[in-house]
Point group: C2
Chain length 423, copies 2
């Protein structure tokens, strides 16, 4: 089936906010096996919204709208959609009660215009919104399915996942079932070339690759009569991918990030961690501390941007800085060792590099970054060459550091296990 | 005039990338006084792109397209646009030479399909692309202006700023001239209420507010015969805004970020800085280190997420942690003092708070954050209550910390100057 994604909001037209809703919905729809040919953005304007709705109804089976369900007179997505589809509105008592309860919980006063949010088109499916006051709405008319969701991502995303996605899954006979495999330590083109034969030969399941900074996500999607059948179709493909990418796969769970995988690995091995950052200036620590529950493993982070700080705070020797320069594998190693020593942590990471735009030379160009990781005294170091601006180089460095931490911990234990631990 | 923003690319339709180009162009167009009623996203597909172009030509004066100018057969924005506008294509020699030079500089081999990028519609304006191989193109036909730009933001943005924006400025008699005023330490609704009378009474210049995390940007836009006249119109409005917002204005320059303003203030006063972060886990340091040239002022950053780390690394007393708890104004102050002491810096910031989702209580709910700033021994502390998820609370904390740093430094010097310095 064909889906069209329509974002309603003057703030998007004015460039006040980036349209992340459309990207989110587009990725989800691709995962559901729906074809998306157009995305539209339109303001809170009756005439123009009518225009967009009519065009979309003429070329798509499913319309996913977000935004314009607020309590003010400006918000008219629901009213215009009902009009275009020829539906009257009525007061939906359960929504009215939910709105009253929401305000009571927040200890806020209800103003009269809030009841507007409890008005819904006749014959529609009303979706509960535990994160806000605008209920979601699904209208079915002439084989078309029009879904209205609130604009704020923290309301729209849970509503889509809990109610809209299951609904969309019922529209076609059979179901679409996806599994994501997340890979680190391999670039997108290398990852693609490693499974070119699988991608070329694919019919059902299909494999799609998504490049993220320092990661590649593979989404394997099967279409089948039921979930059991779909999982059966996925099984051999997932097995083949696991055998090709091995330890580079850090998770097969949708909601596990790379930093979470690293923190889980630290927790599982009862290891503590510290970070010593120069060019990334705290971004690695910040990503680790994204993970709720990291306090069990995170000891201390040091941001030693200057040479002086590298010397005085974590004990990198002056002679070493002079001989090799701050951006060198030797100094990266000393930073990691210093982190482990001063924070008394089992694992420590040192990052030093040239993020640009200044500071590069022929010998050490912008984008050159050294990352060292110490695991229980065993230090490995990685030389990276990143492209892009200052922000991009720093982001890539953090992703590479997380990837190296994972590799180093796995390598340490595999070697300890097999009795060949190096000093 | 009316502008329509069209993004071409299957990767946007699949949700593989977020459409930041549209947000960028929309904000710029608003600044140019152009009205944007629709944004569209369409894939690399002849029939559907034709459809979008025809619709846009029927309702807008200016079409801004980005994407689909690459060398492969998939990329057909230029070819389809030429066809819709009835233009033949020819080989544009200067573009061919530029492409050859680009490949030579990058020491890459040219493949035959690259010459496709030097083909342009007859009668068009060709825009040089120093950051890639796809030239930009402007076609004028029947009073319509169609602008084609490459998709990668690092090619599109400089091309828009250097060539497209000046071109758009010539389309209407007179010019549009904008100035941005960036404010911190005041929320959006408060900022709006402080200038409600100005916004209500506005005709030319106009004032628009843009809410960013922890900041508000005001854009004042004048329409006039020439730049001199526009500046004359802006002057009294800017003066009035300056008198209303005073020291809360941290810059009137488009390209100065809050972290840059803080670093500039540190540089101007010959002050060094250190950071001690708990819940933000390095994000404040990372933002300061966004600023190229920060090495002059940044001494050391400490990430002391655990109580143990707060005690051992920066000397917060155990008794104090027990008496007040880690999230308290007292501990925030000790963190700032400890940072100044151990890093030997003039300015130091301590941040401690509950970012969630866990760890909140009735007394200390999720979103409660204390930020302390020490300037040459004088410490001030701020209690903040942020809403949103873990990432949002942390982001808001960092913005508030930058704002407090600025305030504290300014207050310190104003009091030193007027002889009323407190201990």
């Amino acid at each position: 089936m064909i889906v069209e994604i329509i974002s309603v909001g003057t703030e998007i037209l004015l460039g006040n906010i980036v349209n992340t809703n459309a990207a989110y919905l587009a990725e989800k729809c691709a995962g559901l096996g729906l074809s998306c040919y157009y995305q539209d953005v339109v303001g809170d304007n009756e005439e123009r919204l009518t225009d967009v709705l009519k065009t979309a109804l003429s070329r798509a089976d499913i319309l996913l709208l977000s935004g314009g369900l607020g309590p003010t007179q400006d918000d008219l997505t629901k009213e215009v959609t009902a009009k275009v589809l020829g539906k009257n509105m009525y007061l939906h008592e359960p929504s009215k009660e939910a709105i009253a309860a929401y305000f009571q919980k927040k200890r806020m006063e209800i103003t009269d215009n809030n009841w507007k949010q409890a008005m819904v088109p006749e014959g529609c499916i009303v979706i509960d919104n535990p994160n806000g006051t605008a209920p979601g709405i699904i209208i079915e008319e002439n084989g078309k399915h029009v879904v209205l969701m609130p604009g704020p991502p923290n309301e729209m995303i849970p509503m889509f996942e809990n109610a809209v996605m299951p609904y969309l899954n019922t529209l076609e006979p059979g179901i679409i079932y996806s599994q994501t495999i997340k890979i680190c330590g391999i670039g997108e083109s290398k990852a693609e070339s490693m499974i070119e034969d699988l991608i070329d030969a694919q019919t059902n399941p299909t494999i799609a690759t998504y490049a993220k900074t320092g990661e590649v996500h593979l989404r394997v999607t099967a279409k089948a009569e039921d979930e059991k059948e779909a999982k059966k179709l996925l099984k051999p493909v997932i097995k083949e991918l696991k055998s090709r990418f091995g330890n580079h796969i850090y998770t097969t769970q949708e909601d596990v990030t790379l930093e979470k995988a690293v923190v889980d690995l630290l927790l599982a091995n009862d290891l503590t961690v510290s970070t010593v950052e120069s060019c990334t200036g705290g971004m690695l620590a910040a990503r680790l501390i994204n993970v709720s529950g990291v306090s069990e493993v995170f000891k201390t982070g040091y941001i030693t941007y200057s040479n002086k700080s590298k010397r005085k705070i974590i004990g990198v020797k002056k002679a070493m800085l002079q001989k090799y320069g701050a951006v060198s594998p030797e100094v990266a190693k000393e930073m990691a060792k210093g982190g482990a020593l001063f924070a008394k942590s089992d694992v420590a990471v040192g990052i030093t590099g040239i993020a640009g735009p200044d500071g590069g030379s022929d010998e050490k160009p912008v984008g050159l970054v050294y990352i060292a990781c110490s695991v229980c005294g065993r230090v490995s170091v990685k030389e990276c060459h990143f492209s892009g601006n200052r922000a991009k180089v720093r982001e890539s460095s953090v992703a590479a550091a997380l990837s190296l931490m994972r590799e180093s911990i796995l390598a340490y234990y595999s070697e300890v296990t097999f009795g060949s631990k190096k000093s």
